[in-house]
């Protein structure tokens, strides 16, 4: 039986998280001696990119009930196609669908896995636990398994295969939820997806000083984030808050400016590949969890750093 992967699209496009899920499914398929079937709902991107990462078949599901996101309708639609092992990205929407599919299929659910499985039958893999402080080696009971892949943990791996596409009509119901409206900040890079994040905290002294943070983020092609206190007092939006009760992110580079590094904050960023801390307090706890650090005045350092990075990038 093929390994299935839900290739989530964001406004029609396949983002890195979906390609990472395909890469993961391909690894599981290779370990199991089978192939990968991707299942999409309302994509606008062509299927070719999915063949590039190892999917030999893409099944596109169509139904009026699937026009807006309803996790139950999506889970029921997927259930008509998938069986055995089903891989999801651990994104906000997909991670709502995965548990529902697990219930429908009476499957074991392993969320936030970080690496290739230790074994495929029974399925066993390492996943995040204790807010990024520990890995849990988790084992599934039974053949039906739903797995969600933690973003930027496994990585995207090209594995081109020849592939084909199939469109399937499904009949599901989407009762009880109606979208009233959507508000999107256009053009802003999504925080969970960004490879580089520039984050700042109370050390900035006021919301009017964020210009230099946004400029550095711009030059780096980064998303901006913030610590909990500045989101609670309204200097920055809740959607930028990273930490225990905010978002958990795992960018390649996390630059923290004027953030002391409380444990609650670390819980949201400890999976970042590289952490740079800039703080004028040499005793700030964050330095203990950083890869690189600069002790000094952010108001001098950040503009200077921005100029140097511009130079590096040839601007």
């Amino acid at each position: 039986m093929s390994i299935f992967v839900y290739t989530e699209n964001i406004s029609g496009a396949y983002k890195k998280a979906a390609l990472e899920a395909v890469s993961y499914a391909k690894t599981v398929a290779d370990m199991s001696g089978t192939d990968v079937v991707a299942v999409s709902i309302n994509p606008t991107d062509a299927a070719d990119v999915l063949y590039k990462y190892g999917a030999s078949k893409v099944v596109t599901l169509k139904s009026d009930a699937l026009k807006s996101f309803n996790p139950k309708a999506y889970a029921e639609a997927l259930a008509t196609v998938v069986d055995g092992v089903v891989v999801f990205p651990h994104s906000t929407d997909a991670s709502s669908v995965a548990p529902m599919l697990a219930v429908i299929k009476n499957a074991s659910l392993l969320t936030n896995v970080v690496s290739a499985p230790v074994a495929v039958s029974p399925f066993e893999a390492k996943r995040k636990s204790f807010s990024g402080k520990a890995f849990m080696d988790a084992k599934a009971h039974g053949e039906n398994v739903v797995v969600t892949v933690s973003q930027n943990s496994f990585g995207v791996k090209e594995n081109p295969v020849s592939g084909s596409e199939e469109v399937k009509e499904v009949s599901v119901s989407a009762e009880g939820l109606t979208v009233v409206n959507q508000e999107k900040s256009s053009g802003k890079l999504d925080l969970k997806e960004a490879e580089v994040v520039v984050s700042a905290g109370r050390g900035m002294k006021g919301p009017e000083n964020w210009g230099m943070i946004e400029e550095l983020a711009n030059v780096l092609g980064a998303a901006t984030a913030c610590s909990k206190p500045v989101s609670d007092i309204g200097w920055r939006s809740h959607s930028e808050h990273v930490g225990q009760t905010g978002k958990a992110i795992a960018p390649n580079l996390y630059i923290a400016v004027g953030i002391s590094g409380a444990i609650q904050h670390l819980a949201g960023v400890n999976s970042s590949k590289t952490i740079v801390v800039i703080n004028n307090d040499a005793e700030a706890p964050f330095f203990k969890s950083a890869d690189y650090g600069v002790v000094g005045d952010a108001f001098q350092i950040i503009p200077a750093l921005t100029e140097k990075i511009k130079a590096l990038k040839g601007h």
Partner: protein, 248 residues
């Protein structure tokens, strides 16, 4: 309106996380237990609905008798009564099934949960409860108003927010924003005193079909000591990030 708030008792964030000698389980010795931080938003929201609309609020937990201390804190915040399923939680589906049974038996109109627990990070129980009971489900909820048989929920989406109309009975998994941090209810003396005598019913578990087991745990390795760069030598920082870390 009857509201059920699902609560997890979790180790306080600052706890040092240790495992048993054979690494097979979390070591509970010396741990300070608290209400799961995401659940606090759901709980305060429920108590505010109790104050504004006369709803009744029940809290439910799957856990052993040691979790009752945390359940009394939740009662002190303002819940009316509590139900504890007397079992060590094994995995998301068995917990969800126990809670779904309570929802069904009690006829709760609204189930409020935190979206994830900070210990096992399953982020699955609320969605599973909704699927088991065939109810509409909203995750990552950052705003909620209830009007009779309908609710208006705002959820976080990639790059923004979406407002939904939800038919009750429903399941909502919330986070900060559903209630502001500064508005979280802190138990006062009267709350703490009355919590002692509020009803706490214990039920025996019935779900045994565990689907996931923990084989072992490993602490995430600490990072190597930080490389400090002088503020006068930012060229070096750029070089390190470009050539050593290869992130820019």
């Amino acid at each position: 309106m009857k509201i059920l708030v699902c609560i997890s008792s979790v180790p306080d964030t600052t706890s040092k996380i240790n495992f048993t000698a054979d690494k097979s389980a979390f070591d509970k010795n010396g741990i300070q237990w608290v209400i799961n931080p995401y659940d606090e938003f759901a709980l305060t929201k429920a108590v505010k609905l109790q104050e504004s609309q006369g709803a009744t609020v029940t809290i439910a937990t799957v856990g052993d008798v040691a979790t009752e201390a945390v359940m009394r804190k939740a009662l002190a915040i303002g819940a009316n009564d509590a139900i504890r399923v007397n079992a060590e939680p094994q995995d998301s589906i068995t917990v969800a099934k126990e809670l779904a049974k309570i929802v069904e038996e009690g006829g709760y109109d609204l189930v409020l949960c935190g979206k994830e627990s900070i210990d096992y990070n399953g982020a699955a129980v609320p969605a599973m409860i909704a699927q088991l009971l065939n109810r509409p489900f909203v995750n990552a909820c950052v705003g909620l108003e209830v009007n009779g048989a309908e609710a208006t929920a705002v959820r976080e989406i990639e790059g923004g927010k979406e407002t939904l109309s939800v038919k009750l009975p429903a399941v909502i998994a919330g986070q900060k924003g559903m209630v502001e941090e500064k508005d979280l209810i802190i138990p006062n003396m009267r709350g703490i005193m009355s919590a002692r005598t509020k009803p706490l019913t214990v039920k025996e578990p019935t779900e045994t079909d565990v689907k996931v087991s923990a084989v072992s745990f490993d602490a995430v390795p600490a990072r190597a000591q930080v490389k400090l760069v002088s503020a006068d030598n930012l060229d070096e920082l750029v070089r390190l990030l470009h050539e050593e870390a290869k992130v820019i």
